[in-house]
Symmetry: C2
Subunit: 123 residues, 2 copies
């Protein structure tokens, strides 16, 4: 669907609000990383901490809580002697991989050729 066809049937304001909402859900230094990680399977807190890299525990908790509030991630406590928590994508979380793919494909077609996102983030 094109932008033009879109603007004909949806108010520009709704488009702005909707798009902004998605961008905000994905904004933050680690949101995309965590979403992609959980898309490869459920992880425990400490696994996310280790696999994401240099993220601090505070920031990890903050980010996971935000993703949870947005309905993209579920937090599940596993009963036991020691604390054990698992995080995984919700159906909504899975569905957002579609726009995520659209973004990646766009970047691959328009940015990677120019080597334009190599310096954006050193992970």
């Amino acid at each position: 669907m094109t932008l033009r066809a879109m603007t004909d049937e949806a108010g520009d304001i709704e488009m702005i609000l909707g798009t902004r909402a998605v961008v905000e859900m994905l904004s933050g230094k680690w949101n995309v990383d965590i979403l992609y990680l959980l898309a490869t399977g459920t992880r425990r807190y400490s696994e996310v901490l280790y696999e994401v890299g240099e993220i601090s525990k505070k920031t990890l908790t903050q980010t996971l809580r935000a993703l949870e509030r947005d309905g993209l991630v579920v937090r599940r406590e596993i009963p036991g002697v020691v604390a054990r928590v698992e995080y995984s994508l919700t159906p909504l979380g899975w569905s957002i991989t579609e726009p995520l793919m659209a973004m990646y494909e766009w970047a691959a077609r328009h940015l990677s050729a120019a080597g334009r996102y190599g310096e954006r983030l050193a992970a």
Copy 2:
């Protein structure tokens, strides 16, 4: 294309970097608004200032410069007695409306049903 098919042929790191790059280009309070505005046609600085709403001149200039550095927007000075500058989308700027549409469509399908976009969702 699915996430799974994607991860098979592209490194996870490239996916993260590419997606992050797009999110960063769109992050910021006014980026999406300005992109959608310019998608409806070229505007002068003062027109953008008025049509976007409560944005300050400083922030508008900052945002336009950032979009320009990212190659999404062109700035053109029109010779004349008084200063006059026009902003419009580049081909790259036009092309990014595709992921933008993907985000809006996702929001329309998954978020608008739950009410306002500002609200959080239940899992």
